[in-house]
Structure formats: C-alpha cells, structure tokens
C-alpha cells in the first residue's frame, strides 16, 4: 500500500494552480476518511439501538448472570453439571463439548483426509476413482445436510435399546447412541499408570542412547521391539501384579433404556461423522495438491538412488509436500471449530447452542453473550493458528 502511494507522488506532475482535488493522495485520504466515518456511524447506531432496546426491556447489563442458576438441563456433560448449576458452569460444559467434538473431528478428518488424498494418487485406478468420487460427493453437499443425514438417516434408523443385539457381546448400536461397558478404576490403578509413565520415559532414554550410538558409529539397530515391550509390557506387568485394578460396568437394559455402561450420544456421533468426513474431502484435495507440487525430478533422483517407493514417499516427497500442506490445513482446522456450531441443528449441546442459544434466550444479555461468544471462538481459532504456525516453522525449509 505505502510504496505505490509514495511512487505515485514522486511520479505525479507538479500541481497546477494548487488544486487539491487533482492530487491523488488527497483524494485517497478523503475517500478513506469518509469510509471510516461511515463505519463508526453504523457501529454506533447499532450499539445505541441495542442499548435502548435492552433498557426498554429492563435488562441490566453486566456479567452478574454468570453466577445465577441456569435451571436447564444439558444432555452431554463431561464436567459435573445439574439444573441447579450456574450459567458459568453451563458455559464451561458447552465449551468442553465444542472442544471435544472439534478435537476428535480434527484427528479423524486428518487421518481420513490424508488416506483419501494419497489414494487419489494411487496407481490403482479403482482406488483412485473411488477416492475421487468420495471427494466430489462429500465436498459438494452442504454440511448441514450431511449432519442431518447422519443423525436422521443413519443413526436415527438404528433399533431401539430393547430391540438391539450386542456386537462383540457388549456393544449396543441403538437409536439412543452407542452403548458399551464402562471401565471403572479401582485402587491400585495408579500403579499401572505409573508403570506406563516409566515405560515411556525409559523408551525415550533408549531412543536418545540409540541416536548417540548411531553417531558413535556402531550398528544401526532398530530397538522397535524393546520400545514396544517397555511401553506395553511394563504397564501390562503392573496390571497383572496389582490384580487387575479395573472393573467393567456392563450395560443392563432397564425398562426402555440401558443403565450401567457408558454411552456416546447420537448427536455427538452424527456431528463427529459429518464434520470428519466432510472436512476430510477438503484435506484430501490439499494433500493431493501438495504431493503433486513436489517436482518430478525429486522422485526420479530418489528412484535412481535405489530408494523404494515407500522410502521415497516418506523421506523425500512427504517432507517437501508437508510444507505446502500445512498452511491450508490450518484453515481446515479452523473451519472444523467454527462449523461445529451447526450442532444446534441436531441438539448437540456445543458452546454455541448452550451459551449463545439457551443462555442468551433465558437471560437476554445479548451484548455480553455475543461479545463473549466472539471472544471464545477467536481464542480457539488463534490458539489453533498459533500452534500450526509453530509447526509450520518447525518444518520450514532451512537455509533457503
């Protein structure tokens, strides 16, 4: 912006008769000033309007409502919550629900997206075509439609709890969600977790020593088995020695529903499936473009050195493709968080639904709640972006 302006000034002919209107810099200034005044005026009018309306409804502004009793139930609470809890607690219940569905969707969309993207590049024509069809269907249908599809057409048509037959003896797929045995922790389970931690620590030390050894020049041996033994075997041993300190709480049918076991709500599942599969179609395209952008000469050089396809992909193509993939991948992650607010359509109690929906309706504190909602989504997005930018820098081309 600045440089062209400076240049145009230098290039501008000397003013004739001191006419300000002929000076491009002055005209640009006037236009921008008018624009700024217009924006401030619109903002002020909006704010005044809302303030007067709230005053007319006798709603006191402020954040006092956070301490008041919410009085409504929430269908999925990962932190303790009852109808007697405060709006403040409802805020956190919604926030946790948004974070959990977003985080899970990011993980699944990434795995699925990379798999489909690589499959589109496969030499197997059938596989490549299937992947292409997946991408074209999923990314061209509205996300809201896909959420409703999973909720109504797939999960909604599962049998009721009384009619369902268990999979693997104890997992029930029902129209009330997926019900499975709950794992309860008994005294002594701490030792098992301790053993897991120690196993990880030892594995890390082993890895460190192995790297040193490689530098010192001894044989390049993979300690994969020993690592696995440390991470899995050690806690397994502790598990047996402490006498299996867990209890399985089996789901039991009582009346029309199950008690005992754990349950994944159909709302969570539908939202998670839809967000993951929809976003995966975009990630697949990003991955494909990233891989294709690595010059052909890179693979040829790797092949001519005798590297296998697999090693070429892992050691030569992937590291270069990742640099192109990560920035657009970040926007997909941001989209997942924001799109999770479509939860309202099927009644999944995410942050938006609980806070900007129910809480706003009951308290009427529009300005405060909208402002906080904006701040929360901005904070989640910024945190995601900061992390991804850090990752991007970590894998950036060095020495370039």
């Amino acid at each position: 912006m600045k440089r062209p302006a400076a240049e145009s000034k230098a290039a501008a002919p000397p003013r004739r008769g001191g006419s300000l209107a002929a000076d491009p810099r002055f005209r640009a200034f006037v236009v921008q000033a008018i624009l700024l005044i217009a924006i401030v005026w619109i903002g002020w009018t909006l704010f005044e309007n809302i303030r007067q309306n709230l005053a007319a409804q006798k709603i006191a502004s402020g954040f006092g409502f956070f301490g008041e009793t919410a009085g409504f139930g929430i269908s999925q609470t990962l932190i303790p919550y009852t109808e007697e809890s405060t709006y403040g607690r409802a805020f956190f219940v919604g926030l946790v629900n948004t974070l959990i569905v977003s985080a899970l969707a990011i993980v699944f969309a990434t795995i699925l997206g990379f798999a489909v993207g690589i499959a589109r590049l496969s030499r197997n024509v059938l596989l490549a075509r299937l992947a292409e069809a997946y991408v074209e269907v999923l990314r061209n249908l509205p996300l809201l439609f896909q959420i409703l599809f999973w909720y109504l057409a797939v999960l909604g048509t599962l049998p009721g709890p009384r009619q369902s037959t268990p999979l693997l003896g104890a997992v029930y797929l029902t129209n009330r969600g997926i019900i499975f045995p709950k794992i309860g922790l008994e005294p002594g389970s701490g030792i098992v977790f301790g053993a897991l931690g120690i196993g990880f620590l030892l594995a890390l030390i082993l890895r460190f020593l192995q790297r040193r050894q490689m530098l010192m020049g001894s044989e390049r041996r993979s300690f994969g088995w020993l690592t696995l033994l440390l991470i899995v075997g050690l806690p397994a041993l502790a598990f047996v020695l402490t006498g299996a300190p867990v209890s399985l709480k089996w789901p039991e049918l009582r009346g029309f529903n199950f008690v005992g076991g754990a349950r994944l709500n159909p709302e969570l599942l539908a939202l998670l499936f839809a967000l993951s599969t929809y976003t995966a179609s975009f990630i697949a395209e990003i991955v494909r473009a990233g891989v294709l952008a690595v010059p052909r000469g890179q693979t040829e050089a790797a092949f001519s050195l005798g590297l296998s396809r697999r090693t070429t992909l892992r050691r030569v193509v992937a590291p270069q493709a990742m640099r192109l993939i990560v920035p657009p991948l970040t926007s997909q992650y941001l989209n997942i968080t924001k799109n999770s607010s479509l939860a309202a359509a099927i009644g999944y109690p995410d942050f938006f639904y609980v806070f900007a929906g129910t809480t706003l309706n009951q308290t009427g504190q529009a300005i405060e709640i909208i402002a906080i909602t904006m701040a929360v989504y901005l904070a989640i997005s910024l945190a995601t972006a900061i992390f991804m930018n850090w990752y991007n820098r970590a894998i950036a081309l060095k020495g370039a």
């Binding site: 490689m214 530098l215 010192m216 020049g217 001894s218 044989e219 390049r220 010059p295 000469g297 890179q298 040829e300 050089a301 790797a302 092949f303 001519s304 050195l305 005798g306 590297l307 296998s308 090693t311 050691r315 030569v316 590291p319 270069q320 640099r323 081309l397 060095k398 020495g399 370039a400």
Partner: protein, 257 residues
C-alpha cells in the same frame, strides 16, 4: 543383499556393462527410440550427442528404468530389465545417475543428501554412511560445505554434490544427462574436472553432453543420435575429423562453429 553382491555371479565376469539390442520405445503414438543397438563394455566411456529432442535422455533413462522400453532387450550388468520390480532394483543398485537440474533434495543438508540412500537402501549405520559421504565430498572438493543446504550452494557445487551423492552408492555404471547444461560457463570446468577424474579411475560412464572438449579428452566412443536413432558411433578422433553422415556433419558444424 550383501551376499548377492559379494559372490561374483557369472554376469560379473562378463566384460559387458550395458547391452541394448533392438530397443524401441513409444510415448503414446510418438516413436521416440527406434531400434537402438548399443553395447557398452566395462570401464568404457561413451559420450552421446545429438540435437534436442532426438531421444538422448530417454535412451539413458531406459538404462536405470526411469523409462520403460516396449521392445528389445536391455541388459545391465548381467540383469535383463523386465517388468519385474526386482530387475529394476538390481539395475538401480549398480547404476548412478546425475541430472541436468541436479535434483538435490532441498530439505536435506549436503551430507544428508549423500547418506540418505546408503542408510535406507544399503542399511549402513549413520556413522558409516557419513564417513563414506565425507570421502566422496572430499573427492568432489566440497567437504567444507557438508552442513549447508543445497540452496546455499552455487550450481557447480550442487552438481558436484549430486555426483558425490550418486557415488556414495558405489555404482558400477554412471549416467550423466547433460550435467553442465544448466551451469553458468565459469562453473562448467569444475564439474567436468570431477568427471574426468572419475573416468581416469575407470568408471563406466554414459554421458549425454555437447561438451566436445570433454568428449575428445575422455570418450572411448562418441554416439550421435538423431530422430530416435543412433546415426553414427565412432572413436572421438574419427568422429570429429571425418564424420560419415550428412546429419552428423550438419550437427557438428552447428555446435563447433
């Protein structure tokens, strides 16, 4: 793998490094290689020249399987190249290649460029691979650049790294596809000097190049290609002094001027 390499197979006693017999190749409808017959003996140095688009690159790329021929026989160090992946692996183990555009791995240091294949293909330890890499980097006279990234080097240095990278696999045959064509004139000599040394040590080499000085100095035979065919093969003195075909004369008059 090591066993197979250390036990001399019958093929290793033969004196033929590369044999191409009646090789044809098409790109779709386009007939790019027409009845190529060329036998390269061990320790022989071949320079291939010819107008742009005549199929020189395609010919040497068939030797390490970067392109597949559709008719005829190609035997590399005793192994015939077939559709079978194992024959490709065997050929690529014995053949190193240097490209016009260097094709160094930009995300790896010079040293890592040279150790990648020895570690992942030959199963060397990192230390062994690094020792070997430093040995060849010294031979191409850039050991002090080993911790830099390719983008920090000049074109000539990059091409010398590419040569060292190929040599780290201890190839028996080296292919060069116009190794100096992408270089500024002042860097051509440093790369050619390395190649001349390699030739003097007895490496079997197939070099696509228009560096006629290089051809005169090291080539045992010069191959002239035009329109997908080998038009003329001769010793360098004969080739430059008494070209037999009109097309060869025309080509030489254009590049020697």
């Amino acid at each position: 793998m090591n066993v197979a390499m250390s036990t001399p197979t019958p093929a290793e006693h033969t004196l033929v490094a590369v044999e191409m017999a009646g090789v044809h190749k098409w790109f779709g409808q386009f007939h790019v290689l027409k009845d190529i017959n060329l036998t390269v003996m061990r320790k022989e140095r071949i320079v291939i020249c010819g107008p742009s688009g005549s199929g020189k690159s395609t010919l040497i790329r068939c030797i390490n399987g970067l392109e597949q021929h559709q008719r005829g026989r190609i035997v590399v160090n005793g192994t015939e190249l077939t559709r079978d992946v194992r024959s490709l692996d065997a050929a690529r183990r014995d053949v190193g290649m240097v490209f016009q555009q260097f094709n160094l791995f930009p995300h790896l240091t010079v040293l890592e460029n040279c150790t990648l294949a020895p570690i992942w293909v030959r199963g060397l330890s990192k230390a062994e691979a690094e020792m070997r890499a430093m040995h060849y980097l010294e031979r191409v006279r850039i050991p002090e650049q080993s911790y830099k990234y390719p983008s920090q080097l000049s074109g000539g240095q990059q091409q010398r790294v590419a040569i060292a990278r190929a040599l780290c696999m201890n190839p028996k045959i080296m292919l060069f596809d116009e190794p100096t064509s992408a270089l500024d004139p002042e860097m051509i000599k440093e790369v050619l000097d390395v190649m001349i040394e390699l030739a003097q040590e007895g490496m079997t080499m197939l070099v696509v190049s228009h560096e006629m000085g290089f051809a005169r100095e090291v080539a045992d035979r010069v191959v002239f290609m035009d329109d997908g065919q080998i038009v003329e093969i001769n010793g360098p003195d004969e080739f430059f002094a008494r070209p037999r075909h009109e097309r060869t004369k025309l080509f030489l008059s254009q590049i020697l001027r």
